[in-house]
């Protein structure tokens, strides 16, 4: 019994809307229905958001025992397409669809680029599919759907020449990463004779040897491109900064984190009881990400590049939390992904709104056009202070959780690196706020302007979650710790 709604229906609805979107695009070119594609790219994530929230919250609120994780197999296990839905994946699917809905709400006020709706729905389908995938073949297919849609969306950026360059860089790095990851999967298949995640975990438990380590390394390197682990991160600042604003908000908010989440799921499931050494590797990469991200963010004058580099630092925190690998650190990691998704996408949307009226992304130009977009400035400031860790916002709770996870583990040097980086990051974000709110020397009369209604609605949605998670984080914390339990139990399941 899975209750009234099956989580797999979310995928069906997204797939159906992706399939009809080319027709809707054609209809949208006629003068009668110009806004039909935008309506579809908003309605589909919104509907699936409601469905996914129902699947997650109903069993939780009614206390119904469902036996998580749910395995949905089409055919006999091991010979079939398998989906594996645990509470962490479902929670992140809800967050991903919420961020996507807010981003497409924002996109209503922007000029429409032909093809946006199809690529955006492909991105949503790919993200949810990657989260739910239960074997490596399903994973690869949805991974490519997610990545190809993301490359296409980046290429739709305003400065077309720079956007195409960023999309090309992202395409070459992302595709080669995905293929290298698939090569790693072939080695795992050679060792275990299956591609099913649970069966791989069972058959590889206790295995050792150089091939397992090589497979692990290839797998981490392949997935690490999409997850932007240093030194495979070079596509990220370009892609985030050149993509259209709703796309950078979705990519920075959740897509990269989903890439990281899959790496986490693979490490905790397949390699949990076999290959050792990934903890140290990941901790070192995490520290490199933190320092590189924060120090590069410190010297940026372009607001979108600044936000992109600060995302790199957050991925470092995530890698460090995964390296610790306790139930506490994994649930802190899930909470961090949620909090970062809302605040970073709000920051990108606010910055994009300001940049569109300033016609520049430089901090010095943004502060001049503040009066035209007062609401955007306020919400951007809120998002930046949340990332800095202001009490009352989700950023504060997330940092407390990570601190307690690091300091209660034996990884003291990781805790120290995190502490240094939190201080540096706070300085970085407050510098950005200061630049943004700087008073102009000449008292030239400021022009007045209003933030468009769809933009305001998306800002309100995301900021209400940031504040709600800061004041009353208990529901999210509870769901995150249940998700962490599910993830940790995956490595010990019978296939």
């Amino acid at each position: 019994m899975r209750g009234l709604l099956d989580p797999i229906l979310v995928l069906y609805v997204l797939l159906a809307s992706l399939l009809i979107s080319p027709v809707v695009e054609c209809l949208g070119r006629s003068k009668a229905l110009p806004s039909l594609p935008r309506a579809l790219s908003l309605a589909s994530p919104l509907t699936t958001l409601l469905m996914a929230s129902y699947c997650l919250l109903m069993p939780y609120l009614s206390g119904q025992a469902l036996g998580w994780p749910i395995v949905i197999a089409f055919g006999p296990l091991g010979l079939s397409t398998t989906f594996l839905v645990d509470r962490a994946s479902l929670l992140l699917a809800v967050v991903a669809l919420l961020v996507a809905s807010a981003a497409s709400l924002y996109a209503l006020s922007q000029p429409y680029e032909p093809g946006f709706s199809t690529a955006f729905l492909g991105l949503c389908l790919g993200m949810v599919g990657v989260l739910f995938s239960g074997d490596l073949l399903v994973l690869y297919v949805f991974w490519e759907v997610m990545c190809l849609s993301a490359y296409a969306l980046v290429a739709l950026g305003g400065d077309r020449k720079a956007a195409l360059e960023a999309a090309w860089k992202y395409f070459i790095m992302g595709s080669s990463g995905a293929l290298v990851m698939l090569f790693g999967a072939s080695l795992l298949y050679g060792m275990a004779g299956t591609l099913n995640l649970l069966q791989l975990a069972e058959r590889l438990s206790g295995a050792s040897g150089p091939w397992l380590q090589i497979a692990l390394l290839i797998f981490v390197a392949g997935a690490g491109v999409e997850a932007a682990l240093v030194p495979l991160h070079t596509w990220l600042p370009d892609a985030y900064s050149e993509a259209p604003t709703p796309v950078s908000a979705t990519l920075a908010g959740i897509t990269t984190e989903i890439g990281f989440f899959w790496l986490l799921k693979a490490l905790l499931t397949i390699f949990h009881q076999s290959a050792s050494g990934w903890h140290v590797l990941l901790a070192l990469v995490g520290v490199a990400n933190m320092f590189l991200g924060n120090f590069c963010a410190l010297v940026q004058s372009d607001v979108k590049r600044f936000l992109a580099y600060s995302s790199l630092a957050v991925i470092g925190y995530m890698a460090a939390a995964l390296a610790v690998g306790t139930a506490g650190s994994i649930s802190a990691l899930i909470f961090l992904i949620i909090s970062h998704a809302f605040s970073k996408s709000l920051a990108f949307l606010g910055a994009g709104s300001l940049a569109s009226v300033a016609r520049s992304r430089l901090f010095s130009h943004l502060s001049r056009s503040r009066a035209l977009r007062k609401a955007a400035t306020t919400f951007l400031t809120l998002a930046l202070t949340c990332r800095a860790g202001l009490p009352g916002t989700s950023g504060f709770v997330e940092k407390i959780l990570l601190f307690s996870a690091f300091f209660s583990s034996a990884w003291w040097w990781l805790a120290l690196a995190f502490l240094v980086n939190v201080v540096v990051a706070a300085a970085v974000y407050f510098r950005a706020v200061k630049e943004l709110l700087r008073q102009e020397a000449e008292g030239q009369p400021a022009r007045r302007g209003r933030t468009p209604l769809p933009e305001l609605a998306s800002f309100f949605t995301l900021s209400s979650f940031i504040i709600a998670l800061g004041i009353w984080p208990w529901l999210a914390l509870d769901l995150a710790s249940l998700g962490a339990q599910d993830l940790l139990s995956l490595g010990h399941q019978e296939g």
């Binding site: 490519e144 296409a152 720079a162 360059e165 090309w168 395409f171 293929l179 290298v180 698939l182 090569f183």
Partner: protein, 105 residues
Amino acid sequence: MLSGPEAVLICSLGLLVLGLYGLASKRNLIRLVISLEVLVNATCLAFAALSAMSNPGHSDPVVGVLIIIVLAVGGCIAAFGLALALAIYKRTGTVDAWALRKLRG
């Protein structure tokens, strides 16, 4: 003397290295797409060889399905890459990856 599947596996490793070398060293956008396709084929060959090694005498249907799907996805990658290369060519008039130097730092 190597048996059939082992030779195929070594061949697939060679193709993987060749594909990665192509990605790292080539400047022409079309050649970069070809290098990606070499990686697709390396992966398919590796799956075929490992399937034959672990199930001697019969073939695993999962691997057959996988190879067909991966080849189809590889076709999508090539189509997308060529479309992107064409768009870049129309904007810049060149297919030299080193000419794309706007975004640095």
